[in-house]
Symmetry: C2
Subunit: 333 residues, 2 copies
C-alpha cells in the first residue's frame, strides 16, 4: 500500500490535468433539473461520453503515453483490451506518433476492432480462451512485450494511468468552482477502479471534506465494494447478467485499491433494470447517448433517490460506446 | 426592410448574449474528426441539443421575455406553437415568474403538451383546423391576447426574438476564438428563420468577412432559399414528406428575411435520407441525440461534401427533442 505521500497534492493533480489539455476535450458538466427534482437536490452530469473516442479512458491512456521515456516511445506499447481503453490508447498513440499493439479477443465486437485499426493500431486477435479469454489475451500481450521490447500497459491497474484519469474529476471540480457549486456525492462508474481511484485523489477528504466519493458497480460485480469492506482485495461472484461490459472486472486493481483505501470511498450497487432506466433517462431528458457503464451513475440515483435527497450530486457519465442496434432496443421499451 | 443600422454591432450582440448567460447553458462546440475526414477539412458541431429544454429556442424565448416592460411582465404572454418554442417559452416563463399561455393544436404530441404544462404554462388546445391548424391556433392566440391583455409573441417572426437567438452564434464565435479557429461556413437549420437571421447578425460580412452563413432547409421547404433568390418573400411548395417538424414554415418571417437580405446568406437543401444519416452519424460518432431538424446540418455536409472540402465548417445542431420510439426506429436502420 502506498504511503499517504503517494496521493499527489492538488497542485500536482492540476499539472497532470494541464499536461493533457491540448489533446483532450473539455466535456460539459450539465445540470439536470429533472434529476434534481427526483431527489429535491441538485444533480450535475459530467458527460465524458463527449470525450474524444467516446469515453474517459482516452485521458488516462494519453497521459500514460506522455509519461513514457523517449526510448520507450520509440519502441511502442502493447496492451490487451476489447473496450474503451483499446480505443483510447489507439487514438492517443495516433496523435502522439507512438506505435500501439493491441491483443483483442477474436470475438470482440467488430466495430471495436475496426475502430482501433482505424486509429492505426496493430491489432492481433486472440483465439485462445483458457483459462479465460482475458487471461489468454494478457499472456499473449506479455509475450509480445518480451519479444519486441514494447512497454506492456495495463488497462486499469497502473499508478500512472490512474493519475491520468484524475483529470476527469479535476476538470469537474474547476467547473463546479466556476458555477459556485459544491459536491456532496461524486458517483464514479467502477470496474477495475481507475476512474474512482483517480477521482478520489482529487475529491480527497483532505481537499474536499464535504464530498463522499462513491464507487458505483453493477449488482453481482461489486469487487470494489467488497474489497473496501474487507480491507483487502476481494472477488465478486460475477455470473449475473449485466450489460455494463466495461465494469465486469471481478477484483479491483491493486494500485487502485491502495489509493481507495487511503480515501473514504464507499460502494453502491445498481441493478440491471436501473442501468437501463439511466440510459433511457439520458436519451430522453438529456439528449445524451450513453453506454450501460456510462449510465450506471444515473441509474444509481434513480434506484436510491433517498440517499441523495437534498444534496448536490455529480455523476460521471463515463462513456457512450454502445452498439447502436442494442441501444435502440433499450431505449424503445 | 430595416436599414443597415438595424443590424446591431458586435458590442451590442455581446451584451445581448451576456444578458442571458445566467439563465442559459453554455453548450459545447465539439470538433468531429470523423466529419472533418469526410471533407478533408475541419468540422465543429455546436450542440444546442444540450441547451436547457433541449433546443436553442430557449435562448430567444428567454431574451424576448426579459425585454418586456414591467407592466407586460405582470400581464403575461400568449403564443401558439406546438414545438420547441412552446417548450422554451414555458421554461423561460417559469424561471422569470411570467405567466405563459400557449395555444397548441389538439393533435400535438402528448409529450410536448405535458412538457409545457410541467413548466407551469397554461395550455389551451385548439381543435379547429380551418384554414390550417397553424392559422386557427394563431387566431385563437390573438383573441386571447385581445381579451386578457397578454403580449402576443410570434415563434419566429419577431425582431427582438431574433436578437435573442443571435446568442448561439455569439457563443460559438467566442469558442472558436478561444480555440484559435476560423469559420468558413456556418450551417443554420432554417424554418421561419430566426436562428439563421440571428446568426447572420454575428457572422456578418462586416464582422467576419471569411464566413459564409448557410440557411439549411429540408428539400421541399426551401422558403428562405427561394426568398433570397427572388429578393422577396416567396413560398415553398411543401407537401413533401419531411421529418423536420421544426423546419416546415413555407415562408420565412418578414423580420427574418429583412435581416437576411442585409447579409450574404445562401440556401442549401437537404434530402430526407441525409437528415436520417445525420441523426445516425450524431448518435454513432458523437453520442448526441438529435431531432431531425437538429441533425439537418450534419446531413447537409454528408450530402454535399464537395462544398465543404478543405474548409472549416461550424454546424449548429439546434435541438434534440424527438419522440424516442421514432428515434429508435431511425437509428436502427
Amino acid at each position: 500500500m502506498p504511503t499517504p505521500q503517494a496521493i499527489p497534492d492538488l497542485k500536482t493533480l492540476k499539472e497532470i490535468y494541464q499536461s493533457q489539455q491540448s489533446y483532450t476535450r473539455k466535456t460539459p458538466l450539465i445540470p439536470s433539473e429533472e434529476l434534481g427534482a427526483r431527489v429535491q437536490g441538485k444533480v450535475f452530469v459530467k458527460a465524458e461520453s463527449l470525450q474524444k473516442t467516446g469515453a474517459f479512458k482516452f485521458r488516462g491512456a494519453l497521459y500514460r503515453l506522455l509519461q513514457l521515456t523517449e526510448q520507450e516511445k520509440l519502441r511502442g506499447v502493447v496492451a490487451y483490451s476489447s473496450g474503451n481503453f483499446a480505443r483510447g490508447l489507439a487514438a492517443a498513440g495516433e496523435i502522439l506518433g507512438i506505435e500501439v499493439h493491441l491483443v483483442m479477443p477474436a470475438d470482440a465486437p467488430k466495430n471495436k476492432i475496426d475502430n482501433a485499426r482505424a486509429h492505426g493500431a496493430e491489432v492481433k486477435l486472440c483465439y485462445e480462451s483458457t483459462p479465460s479469454r482475458e487471461e489468454a489475451a494478457a499472456a499473449q500481450a506479455i509475450k509480445l512485450s518480451q519479444q519486441h521490447g514494447y512497454s506492456l500497459l495495463h488497462p486499469f491497474d497502473d499508478a500512472i494511468l490512474i493519475r491520468g484519469q484524475s483529470a476527469v474529476a479535476m476538470e469537474a471540480s474547476e467547473q463546479l468552482q466556476q458555477m459556485g457549486e459544491t459536491c456532496h456525492f461524486l458517483l464514479c462508474p467502477t470496474g477495475g477502479g481507475s476512474l474512482v481511484a483517480g477521482s478520489s485523489m482529487v475529491f480527497n477528504a483532505a481537499h474536499y471534506p464535504d464530498t463522499q466519493v462513491l464507487a458505483i458497480e453493477p449488482s453481482g460485480y461489486e469487487g470494489m465494494t467488497l474489497s473496501i469492506e474487507e480491507g483487502q482485495r476481494a472477488r465478486a461472484y460475477g455470473k449475473t447478467a449485466s450489460s455494463c461490459d466495461a465494469l465486469q472486472a471481478l477484483s479491483p486493481g491493486e494500485a487502485n485499491l491502495a489509493i481507495i483505501q487511503n480515501s473514504e470511498v464507499a460502494g453502491l450497487a445498481v441493478d440491471e433494470a436501473f442501468v437501463n432506466e439511466g440510459i433511457r433517462f439520458a436519451a430522453y431528458n438529456m439528449k445524451l447517448v450513453l453506454e450501460p457503464s456510462g449510465a450506471i451513475g444515473i441509474g444509481a440515483l434513480l434506484q436510491h433517490p433517498e440517499k441523495f435527497r437534498g444534496k448536490t450530486s455529480v455523476i460521471i457519465a463515463s462513456g457512450g460506446n454502445i452498439d447502436i442496434e442494442k441501444y435502440a432496443r433499450i431505449i424503445q421499451r
